[in-house]
């Protein structure tokens, strides 16, 4: 996806650059959505991942192109990191016929089968068993793919997470649960939802699943955890659960900021901004000499152009015809 052919010499550097570029691209797309949202033409709820890019980038960089992923309401980053088609996503946000769901879904329903992004829907937890089923079918059909179920920490409160975890553990499915723990479910902090005396990953451990916690704002750390998890899962040794600690910068739903309304403190927010996954990582690469300033500037320009083109195309694209309303209610056999 990201011109991987022209990567710098070492593999480690190649990976670092890939992670950085993946994060930057996600950030730029999300910021463009935030900017354009004010135009009131993306007429659907949007849940941005700004601040959480390292998880998507690190996880997807450890996957094969034919591995599968599913997500929930906050799925732009996952879709993009997995290689989902950007113009089709932007068009979907605009409700256009060229959208990845032909306008039927909007931001909360993304799909790109060619990229192995099998779908995202907004009922919290509901894609977890479906992703488990993808892994189950791959196992039954003796394919060596791995599936990723992206979820927020609130989804671990839904019983269906546990039902899926039990089944995945029972059948040693090639599945990785990637839980981005960003401390909030909408405006509700952890302490009104989960006991303070246990960590999220322990829930999965209770099911006999290999479970780890990591810094969700460090793409290399995420990648390392995920690399091992994918190897474990692909080898038939069963599912893995990763809890990635991170933080959402903007409001739960929508383009703005909402620290002023009182459910979290400005200080907490600022502390997490200090840990910006992109700035921190860029800095680290600069320190280690892995950062090619010119290349990065060119990359940013290219991404900005790619994004501008996607928005322009989406804005110009036709809406689905009213006459198509009843298409695709049933599949023709």
């Amino acid at each position: 996806m990201l011109a991987a052919a022209t990567l710098p010499p070492t593999v480690a550097t190649a990976l670092s650059v890939r992670l950085l570029e993946s994060m930057v691209r996600i950030r730029f797309v999300e910021e463009a959505i935030a900017r354009h949202y004010a135009g009131q033409q993306m007429r659907c709820p949007v849940h941005l991942s700004i601040g959480q890019e390292a998880a998507a980038a690190g996880v997807c960089a450890a996957l094969r192109a034919d591995d599968l992923a599913m997500s929930g309401h906050r799925s732009h980053a996952h879709y993009l990191a997995k290689g989902g088609d950007l113009p089709a996503m932007i068009a979907e946000l605009y409700g256009k016929a060229t959208g990845c769901c032909q306008g039927r879904g909007g931001s909360m329903h993304l799909v790109d089968l060619a990229a192995g992004f099998v779908g995202a829907v907004p009922i919290v937890g509901s894609t977890i068993p479906i992703a488990t089923g993808l892994a189950f079918a791959d196992r039954q059909l003796k394919r060596d793919r791995v599936t990723v179920a992206f979820l927020g920490e609130a989804a671990t409160e839904e019983g269906v997470f546990h039902e899926s975890a039990n089944f995945a553990s029972l059948h040693a499915l090639p599945l990785v649960f990637v839980c981005e723990n960003n401390l909030y479910s909408v405006y509700s902090p952890m302490h009104v939802r989960q006991p303070a005396h246990r960590e999220v990953w322990q829930l999965a451990a209770g099911h006999g699943i290999a479970a780890h916690q990591g810094d969700g704002n460090d793409p290399l750390a995420v990648h390392e955890l995920m690399h091992a998890a994918v190897a474990h899962a692909r080898a038939g040794r069963g599912p893995v659960f990763l809890e990635l600690k991170t933080y959402r910068w903007r409001e739960h739903c929508g383009p703005g900021f909402d620290n002023h309304i009182g459910y979290r403190t400005e200080a907490e927010y600022l502390a997490w901004r200090e840990r910006d996954p992109i700035a921190r990582f860029e800095h680290r690469l600069q320190q280690s000499g892995e950062f090619d300033e010119l290349r990065h500037a060119q990359f940013k320009d290219a991404v900005e152009a790619e994004i501008a083109a996607a928005f322009a195309a989406a804005q110009l694209a036709p809406f689905p015809a009213g006459t198509s309303l009843l298409h695709h209610v049933y599949a023709e056999s």
Partner: protein, 355 residues
């Protein structure tokens, strides 16, 4: 001090009902994802946690099935809980505790226990709510003996029926339509109830009976205005309570008009509109002078794109067209015209998203 009426929005009326209930009865408890949040659950719970404490106005884990069950236990053991869902869709995870448990508990234990619990749900619409945030499944609940089901239209009824629901010793499903939240109306201060059961004649008329639910009552009233321009005098009945259902007002109206159009905010097959038509057939057969008609959702999930959702939702014009058909009047293409600039995926011009 005598209660006096003020103009409130529907959302404020809900909040007002909660404040009255929490004040009057220490057993009342509000629970739900985001109930104490700073946006106040579309404004319907604003400030209540501050006023009544975190023990009585509570957030919860994202676990609709389990938390509904927990509220049943609380109801059996001395509390009067209201569980709140920002979307009806989320409550689908709790069909077992609502329909297999709560609805049957009093009956199947021979009357040993009461289950005073309210299941409050909001129906989403527009601005990309799409297939999974807009489901209208009130008929599922109306199908189940042991539940009561209300869908108030006006701020006055919202407050009065919510208080009645909280005071009822049975499980009550209380369904609000998101597009009613901004609606303004006279709402008495203090305590009052609107009884669960009786329908309301929202407009008197002679020529045709339009039966509507929840938000569709507004479209029905608009349709009646348009019909009046053509000299057609429509009666509009606001059902308010789906279970128990008030047949008497309906049948009295049909005896008068002989014509029926039902405007439902939901699917057609085995929905509430089907029930109204069935009752009309069974009990007003002799009065009916034309085939009754249903105005319901098209037979597909709710699409997200504004172009498709504009096509999807029936409007006043669809009701007008159905009425014309029952009167054997010729169809009028103008009925379904959308005024230039109208944004059909917004409840009102001031709405700006994202939710």
């Amino acid at each position: 001090m005598k209660s006096s009426a003020r103009e409130l929005t529907y959302a404020e009326a809900i909040r007002d009902a909660f404040a009255v209930a929490l004040e009057r009865d220490p057993r009342v408890l509000l629970l739900g994802l985001g109930v104490p949040d700073p946006k106040g659950f579309f404004g319907t719970t604003l400030g209540l946690q501050k006023q009544f404490g975190a023990d009585r106005v509570m957030d919860m884990p994202c676990a609709e099935n389990g938390m509904t069950g927990v509220m049943l236990g609380a109801a059996l053991n001395g509390l009067r809980p209201v569980i709140n869902h920002q979307r009806l869709d989320f409550a689908l995870l709790a069909m077992d505790p609502m329909c297999t448990q709560a609805a049957k508990w009093h009956y199947m234990f021979g009357g040993a226990m009461k289950m005073p619990v309210v299941f409050r749900m909001i129906i989403g619409r527009g601005w990309g709510q799409g297939p999974q945030h807009s489901q209208c499944l009130h008929s599922w609940f109306a199908h189940i003996p042991g539940l009561k089901v209300v869908m108030p239209t006006t701020p006055h009824d919202a407050k009065g029926l919510l208080l009645a629901a909280i005071e009822d010793d049975n499980p009550v499903v209380f369904i609000e339509h998101r597009w009613l939240h901004h609606l303004k109306g006279e709402v008495p201060a203090g305590h009052y109830t609107v009884p669960i059961g009786p329908a309301r004649r929202a407009r008197a008329g002679r020529d045709v009976t339009i039966v509507a639910f929840s938000y569709m009552v507004l479209e029905a009233l608009e349709a009646a205005e348009k019909l009046a321009e053509d000299g057609i005098d429509a009666e509009v009945i606001d059902v308010r309570s789906l279970r128990p259902l008030d047949q008497s007002l309906l049948l009295a109206s049909l005896r008068k008009t002989g014509r029926l159009v039902v405007a439902d905010t939901g699917h057609s097959t085995a929905g509430m509109a089907a029930e109204i038509l069935a009752i009309a057939g069974e009990s007003a057969f002799g009065s009916l002078r034309a085939a009754p008609r249903r105005v319901c959702f098209p037979d597909c999930p709710t699409p997200t794109s504004p172009s498709l959702s504009a096509e999807y939702y029936p409007r006043a014009g669809h009701i007008v067209a159905a009425v014309r058909a029952t009167l054997q009047r010729p169809p009028n293409d103008d009925d379904l015209l959308v005024p230039a600039g109208a944004e059909l995926d917004k409840p009102n011009p001031a709405f700006t998203g994202p939710f």
